[in-house]
């Protein structure tokens, strides 16, 4: 399987062994059994999914089953679910011989990640101190899918260069870090981040980049022949792009407030995404001598508007404000693919297969700061007094927080997310360098043959 004795940092060095016949089943079995035990101890149905709902309804004077949160959120949940599995999965099928790994490993780690997320997020956000239990409903499922998204984004930077066992480790730590940073940002700092510009995209993007940086492969050019698309693999990737693009309004509105909150978040995201498409096309066309478009840009940068609206979508950013966000991030993201990714690889020794820097890290960071600005600019006349309290949740110990302060905390939250991504990713990267995980040799990357039975 080639040899890697030319690895520069070189503190671990022996021939690569990509046999995962023991490690992959072991990880899957042991962790799944652990999930079952922990679910047995901690996880229960919440009052809206428990058979006691009939009693609960009566006690709370709820007149109709339609008031069950299921009917507010389940359609959005399913859209998010499609984004996680088909959206992220097919977006990563673009490589000519790594489509199985793209969609298949995405499937594996999301299926594990969502279970671990229900536990981690439950412990941090919804553990009932009286009973010691976590009560789950449809909103928990959405949050679990969101939590996975962080690790799936990280996978985008690592695509083709790591083993499935490494990806399980990335996901285990990714979900854990996510739950902690989310607790700090949403609960301690009391930020709003419904669509996760900060907690999902900035965190996930920088997490993946930091891991990839630590795992730098100086001889990756040996696999260059496979690091690209063929005609049909680009069409497959468009399935991912389009499902992400179409359902992003559901992503950003899935857990916002009932009523106007969900409604407004969907509209804003829809507009920002539309705007991104036009500027992506413009920049992509300008970058080629004859104005030809590049599929990489169309597949990725068109989504930047959705990422950047993750925080501000539920705010009164105005429809034209949403268009402006999409306009700018479409440009920035396409420039990222044209100039920043090659720069990072050449000068920072950072190999980012899917360009998650341009689609998630950077637009996510921008989205965090956009959210901060829009929050700081909020006024009672625009939101109404009650609306302001609702949107920013100025209740309890935060009743007296002003919008300026809120803006400051939103900006701080963005920094926390980035810091967690960078530091966490660096540590996880070091763990992944231990030579027991079955990762491929430099001349064997981007190749499904390593981990899949491929029929000729």
């Amino acid at each position: 399987m080639g040899n890697c004795c030319d690895c520069v940092t070189g503190f671990f060095c022996r021939p690569k062994n990509t046999n995962v016949r023991v490690s992959l089943p072991a990880v899957c079995f042991v962790w799944q059994i652990a999930m079952i035990i922990l679910f047995g101890v901690f996880i229960r149905y919440d009052e809206e999914s428990d058979a006691h709902w009939v009693e609960f309804k009566r006690e709370h004077n709820i007149t109709s089953d339609i008031e069950n949160d299921f009917y507010f959120r389940y359609p959005s949940f399913q859209d998010v679910h499609v984004m996680i599995f088909v959206g992220f999965g097919f977006l990563m099928t673009f490589l000519k011989r790594y489509s199985f790994g793209g969609v298949g490993f995405n499937f594996l780690i999301a299926a594990f990640g969502l279970q671990w997320a229900l536990l981690m997020q439950g412990w941090f956000h919804s553990l009932d101190p009286a009973t010691g239990k976590i009560y789950i409903g449809v909103e928990s499922l959405i949050n679990a899918d969101f939590c996975c998204a962080g690790s799936l984004i990280a996978y985008g930077a690592l695509l083709g260069k790591v083993s499935p066992v490494q990806l399980m480790v990335v996901t285990l730590f990714g979900v854990t870090l996510f739950a902690v940073e989310e607790y700090i940002i949403l609960t301690l700092l009391h930020c709003r981040d419904a669509g996760g510009s900060m907690v999902i995209h900035a965190f996930g993007g920088y997490y993946g980049l930091a891991i990839s940086w630590v795992l730098y492969r100086p001889n990756l050019h040996q696999s260059k022949r496979l690091n690209g698309s063929v005609y049909h693999s680009d069409v497959f990737a468009m399935i991912g792009t389009l499902f992400l693009w179409m359902f992003w309004p559901s992503f950003n509105s899935a857990i916002t407030d009932h009523g106007d909150g969900q409604h407004r978040a969907a509209i804003n995201t829809y507009l920002a995404l539309a705007s991104s498409v036009l500027t992506t096309v413009a920049i992509s066309s300008m970058s080629q001598k004859t104005g030809k478009l590049d599929m990489v840009h169309i597949q990725n940068a068109t989504l930047a508007g959705g990422v950047a609206m993750g925080t501000a979508a539920e705010f009164m950013i105005t429809p034209y404000g949403s268009l402006i966000v999409g306009f700018c991030t479409g440009i920035i993201s396409t420039f990222g693919y044209l100039y920043i990714t090659p720069f990072l690889e050449k000068y920072l020794k950072l190999q980012d297969t899917c360009g998650v820097h341009n689609l998630h890290a950077l637009p996510g960071m921008l989205g965090g700061f956009i959210g901060a600005i829009v929050a700081a600019a909020a006024t009672e006349s625009v939101y109404s007094a009650e609306g302001l309290i609702n949107v920013f949740d100025f209740e309890g110990s935060f009743a007296n927080r002003g919008v300026g302060t809120q803006g400051g905390f939103q900006a701080a939250g963005t920094c926390v997310a980035i810091a967690f991504g960078l530091v966490g990713g660096a540590i996880v990267g070091l763990i992944l360098r231990i030579p027991i995980w079955g990762d491929p040799a430099d001349d064997n990357c981007y190749d499904d043959e390593v981990y899949w039975e491929v029929r000729k």
Copy 2:
């Protein structure tokens, strides 16, 4: 088109003629005209889809249009609809030269089957004795899609070996048998089976296997070159897998009780499916010398948790109970692909193209028995007194049935479903051996050229 004079049982024997130019249009036209006439006689809008709804609302003190069942069930209906047409259809595109037949014939027979299902299920379940009419609404559409699923599962066992005319016959009888067994199981035995482990999967699986057994082709090895996938056909099949996997929570919750019933069924199915993915990967990896994964397992066995939760999803099986179900069925299903399918082919002369035994028949049967056990273990403290009545519908003549009895009936229902599948399938198989249906010769199977204009 080759000759089949080596057919072992040999009671019909002449050269194959795959020309369906008369039979296929005839079947489509005549049956569609029959549908129109029967719909004219029997099918009407129900009170929620009729223009009299305004009056109905007033008479029944319904305060809002949102109480119309459309808003409770339409999103789930659409998810189920995607599973039937894209899920089943694309799952069957995995063969290298039978993708047109996989997705195209699936489309044809589902479009016919749902019409016939509306009639058959209507006669058995909702014929108004006063008017002699069947009144349909969104729940009828979901049930019609479910009813088709039985026949589409059977198609999985026959994929590549039968003509479209034969498939229409399979569907005509499949839907008919389905409506009868469903009536016996749900109405006479008063079983609960919201996601159809018994009535859909166990029935459909054994129905297809029995047909395939009767249609055994001793010289099928002559088409061996086409009985396999190529790289891109495996990626197409993943579209089917993922849409089935993602929307299975909607499948199992689509017709459960409003409120907690739908909510809980979705959560349980979501968890069982996640768990199946990890154990499928584990067993698949263990089965290869170097730990490589097999796409066949990932495409199919990952779904076993959804099948096995078809009965129990609406019960209080607990979240960890759901994980355990997915854990076990993922293992069993993957073992099925590794050992049972080859065994069935070699010793029972049963050719099962998609391995429906492992994905539907066996997990469906297990799901039926799991449902029986969970029902028998139900208690008032877990469900609440009202909850128990609601979930198991202990009303009217069943008001005094205990949970133990219910468990027994659930188990009996599973056996009824299997019996209907096996006996019905054997009879339909014999009908399909009449040499008038245009089925392909043994050396001509798994080939789209037989029934499709294929451009070079």
Copy 3:
């Protein structure tokens, strides 16, 4: 890039230059900036998506957030959104080397069109005279998607023969014309057309055909080698077909009345589509010597029932009436692909790449007339007095209109839609003949290489 000096009408004639490096970015940037400015001036959130919703609820005695229109329409909106981007997009991937252009340009023009549609439809339908603003909510998003559909249909006739800049022009004028004809048909003539048989399909179809007729290319046979499918491109196209087919019930019901209106429209469309599949298969099989099916028919004509139900879906057409509509239009559409398209090309010099005449123009026109007949035949006994008023909106200045008159107006509306399509298309076609748009030479059509970086 070849020469076109053989163009018959010949009023512009010089060698083709397909370089769009200036024109495409310029159009994208300028128009997107114009959108931002116009949105800034005109577009605001409506009362259901504005943060003042809490106050609005209180003032209007709305007891629950679930009464927000978002929950009535968002699931349908997302289905429509999938149809626009994945449905139309992937349906147009069927050509062997134009899949990027099919799905990519569809993406671009829909993303532009929906923004322009929000403005145009807003000015005509919902401009508040007091404030001079357009207030948007989820129903506006659905209508914007609908409005794009007209231009995307037109793209189907032009596929492979025009530049992206030309498509932007087609969309700019298409959306403009759409908003005007929609205003005339729905507001002035007070027609009902929830699913747009007239305003979307008849208009869009004839619009595209008229453009294509003006852009007739006598030497298009030089690109004949690329005007066809390969095996996998046909499978990709089935993704488009199936998502269109499955979600068409949502399309036709998305903006109908709450309650029975949406419910009935979904049922009727579901049935018509099912019926179309069987007759399409029948005619397709009859048309070949050995009864083989043609993918072109299955991909397209199966959808004709949905198009033809666009007007009548919300009426009490009865379930068997819906089946009859699907039955007939499936036949007519397939015959169109077999005989009318070749006829149009040979004798009318009309090149229609996707056959939009057979799928949209003709079934749309038929749908308009079917709607007229069903409207004229409406009775109080079938609809109830209130139901009749609700369905046909006989209120205000239309309170005394009878159903017969309504039928007449519906028929007139169909003619208006066709006239707008033909005249508008002819004018736009002439504009597109100006040799500044970068369209390909006759021997260079149907080829992604012209506008895309294609990796070998």
